[in-house]
């Protein structure tokens, strides 16, 4: 049997976009292996994982229980590992904060290899082959799976969600007790911001902003895009305490692949580039025409960001309101 088990992530009882991406990745893999996609979702009571069938799940294993409304590592790992032992070829999970914690737990429990944070999954001569960036994207490995079961975490934004109607027959699953830490709360910031790793547009600032207060310019630009954009930061400004680490893009921060990445006052140090080079479109604004970021950028403007950014913000606002 060459079925694929896809772990679906939810927040507050709604499937996250990454869950739909994993279904698409799982569907493509199962089709190549000649198997089915079984999706498994844990969430609060009343949760239905409704979109799973429409996005390619043949079966949905649903664990709707208030004990697992938040991510509880021990319960999630025990419940999922129990289901994953049913002869699957691969278990797919999104490489999110939850998935990065969960995937190694599953691999350890299943005594399976773990291919972490992969950007592509394929089948070659009957074997699963994954592509995974290493050295923060400066190189990548292609690895062939030689074990009967593999746990794969897939980087968010590396697969497009697609609608492929399947039965999505739902089977209830009970929570399995397991030891682990207890998640007691999720603290949300007073002002909800889009995470830099999940945003469609990232406006990042570096030392060229000169002082922390000037990031207001970037916040205004991000706001002009209307809810799909967020602010990112270079290591230099995070280390200087201007911006929180959650916003850092680069090798000791987050790896992002937005549709549009706007680098403002960022020179393009190798460790920063490692975190954003897979962005679909890159725009650079920098006063130094020789800055390495221009070698990477699709479009660049050389000049004073304090003139350019407000004008850009105004132009974006105009388009959005048109």
């Amino acid at each position: 049997m060459a079925n694929v088990l896809v772990v679906l992530e939810q927040r507050d009882g709604s499937l996250k976009r990454v869950a739909l991406e994993m279904l698409s990745a799982g569907r493509a893999l199962a089709d190549q292996l000649g198997g089915e996609v079984h999706a498994i979702a844990l969430g609060p009571s009343g949760f239905t994982a409704g979109a799973a069938g429409a996005h390619g799940a043949d079966r949905v294993l649903l664990c709707a229980d208030d004990r697992v409304s938040l991510y509880q590592a021990g319960l999630y790992a025990a419940t999922l590992a129990g289901q994953a032992r049913a002869g699957y070829a691969a278990v797919l999970v999104g490489a999110t904060a939850m998935g990065k914690d969960l995937a190694p737990r599953l691999a350890a429990r299943l005594k399976a290899p773990l291919a972490a944070d992969v950007t592509a999954v394929a089948v070659d001569q009957g074997a699963i082959v994954v592509t995974r960036p290493v050295y923060a994207g400066k190189a990548f490995y292609r690895l062939r799976v030689t074990a009967p079961l593999v746990v794969i975490s897939v980087r968010p934004n590396s697969v497009m969600p697609a609608e492929v109607a399947r039965a999505g027959t739902t089977t209830p699953v009970a929570v399995v007790e397991g030891t682990g830490p207890t998640t007691t709360a999720v603290k949300e910031p007073e002002q909800a911001t889009l995470d830099v790793a999940e945003a469609g547009i990232v406006v990042s600032g570096g030392r060229g902003l000169k002082e922390p207060g000037h990031f207001k310019l970037l916040e205004d630009l991000a706001a002009a895009f209307g809810g799909q954009a967020t602010v990112g930061a270079s290591r230099a400004v995070v280390d200087a305490g201007w911006r929180p680490h959650a916003e850092q893009v680069g090798q000791t921060g987050k790896t992002v692949s937005p549709n549009l990445y706007i680098a403002v006052g960022i020179s393009g140090a190798i460790q920063h580039v490692a975190g954003m080079r897979t962005s679909k479109v890159i725009v650079a604004i920098n006063k130094d025409k020789d800055a390495p970021i221009f070698k990477l950028a699709d479009y660049g403007i050389v000049g004073d960001l304090f003139d350019i950014v407000p004008r850009l913000t105004e132009a974006v606002r105009k388009i959005r309101s048109a």
Binding site: K100, R105, T146, G180, V302
Partner: protein, 250 residues
Amino acid sequence: MKIAVCIKRVPDTEARIKIGADGKTIDESGVKFVLNPYDEFAVEEALRLKEKAGAGEVVVVALGGDTTQETMRTALAMGADRGVLLKVDALPLDPFPVASALADELRAGGFDLILCGKIAADDSSHATGVMVAELLGLPAVSAVSSLVIADGKGTAEREIEGGVEVAEFALPAVITAEKGLNEPRYPALKGIMAAKKKPLEVKPTTLAATGLAVVELAYPAERKGGRIVGEGADAVPALIEALQTEAKVL
């Protein structure tokens, strides 16, 4: 408090990576190797917890070849008490055999806490610490940016997308460190001198088989060259035009 810290020798994050002639590993010549940056946070946290407890031991454990001893001396220079090197010829890309070897070493150690960096800057699996915990049957919290330990219990915070998850656990436990957990100290000269005399045990180790075979190591596709659309704020309309009509992202 008895604390183990699992550490790794990795290329400096600023290093250029050159792929070796075999097409499956990196060419290490001329590459500066360092203590994995996230492991520095783990070492620092262990030292602070020991200092706060007023007694205890910090043991650093690593897997690697003889060159890893130098990396371990860095941790000893920061203040760790002793080291154990699980000597292997090469590290696999699969974290499972690595975690298994570490778990076997740590199992009978009587540690109250095991600390690791959340991710290694080379193979970037973000897995080893949590796997060690699972193999030892201990609770683990990964990517921790704030940690409080008291009365045999702990509270940890970890950043998740758009929020912070708060988790409670009982000791012994495994914690993997995120940037921001603390500000690691630089080894002082006195520490560097002392580190040379600290015990560092070398144990030849055989790793379990991996279920992942390397097909190739390759460079990412170069981004095709872009263009400068202009200079100063007057170039903004040209940029907008390009983003709308060429790139179609607006």
